[in-house]
Amino acid sequence: MSNQYVDMGLSAPVNVTWEVTYACNLSCIHCLSDAGLKRSGELTTDQCLAVIDRLAAMKVFQFNIGGGEPFMRPDFLDLMDHAHKKGMVTCISTNGILIDDYVAGRLDNPLVYVQVSLDGATPASNDPIRGTGSFQNVLRALGCLRNRNIEVSVNTVLTRRSFSELDSMTELAAEYGAKLRVSRFRPSGRGKASWSELNVDQQQMLAFSDWLNGHLAVSTGDSFFSVSTEERRSLGLNMCGACKLTCCISPEGNVYPCAFLQDPEFLAGRLPDDDFKDIWQNSPVFHSFRRLEIKSCESCRRFDLCHGGCPAIAYHTQRKLGVPDPGCLANCVSVKPVLKEVRP
């Protein structure tokens, strides 16, 4: 990653995480969005189309679409068609329940990536987290997508439960022509309450770092640059991309540094009242985030690989920014105790 060019300031994000609705047909215990019912104030169809038009005009290259469950929006496929007509890539995160052959056909487009969420290699491990029957629904969705020209990945959140099943999940994904993608568990949304129960411990994080080195085809969405080693240096970011390469739009149109920092103090602006370009270029919240330095990490031998790790995890565990990611390899191998999570 060419940090020097990023630090000069980009005219627009490279990609934008867009949570299009809070509505969801599951109630996963670790949901970062605390999704469930649609909430009042979610952007209308016309407002969503305007968001797409504005970001396309700024030459944002990609949307990372999530929610809630994006397909719960009746207009979702039409919104995606509109984005694709503008040449924008869409990476859609879904639980797969609403994917059938018709939907798969609508998604059959080289501009589409689909990530289907799964948190275990069997119903016994997955369903207690994601809901009864969710495992079988994922397999059914993967079957529909397999026959299409769509880049598909199976996305799992790294937890104490999924940790021992990563190899099995890699094989399962491959059976459906998909890759495994591992996301980091963050204590936001319902994740706050399930953090102590599900978060991996130090030894598991160290073992996971080793496992990643032996599985270079597994992607991490840049969630784990805090534990990246030299072998994976070229595969992604070595720093937090929030406000530099990316940002987040909530279902109501609120703009934040990232999907994991949606506390009121991180509100940078509101669409459609505020102009997205103005938010990106002039928001004090974004300016402050871009200047964020984790001084205590700068002397670390791993600083060039991670630049202090994920600020969101640091914030949610220690209630402040500018402190190290507690899950970094340097912390794991040091004698420092694991920082205790802060109860909501």
Binding site: Y5, A12, V89
Partner: protein, 91 residues
């Protein structure tokens, strides 16, 4: 023979302060190319030939013909090798 260059399928480019930012959806991958303001992003729509670009740089920046030709050839070759652009020659 005059050469025009076009973006490969799946590649987009936009102008930044340092030069050009290429996005290749196969990956996806980002490429930061420090061309400053020497190459406009619409160059890759075939709006200008490579030879025209060399002459433009030579004139605008008082560069020698050899220097501008070397620089433009180097940049375009790199971009071709990375699979971002392709050349179409016209006679």
């Amino acid at each position: 023979m005059k050469k025009r260059y076009y973006l490969n399928n799946g590649v987009q480019v936009r102008k930044e302060v340092f030069g050009l930012l290429f996005y290749d959806y196969r990956g996806p991958r980002l490429y930061f190319v420090p061309t400053k303001n020497l190459i406009a992003n619409d160059f890759f729509n075939g709006t200008q030939t490579a030879e025209g670009l060399m002459e433009s740089i030579q004139t605008r920046y008082s560069q020698s013909r050899q220097a501008s030709e070397q620089w433009v050839t180097h940049v375009l070759t790199e971009l071709e090798q990375k699979g971002l652009i392709h050349e179409q020659s016209i006679c």
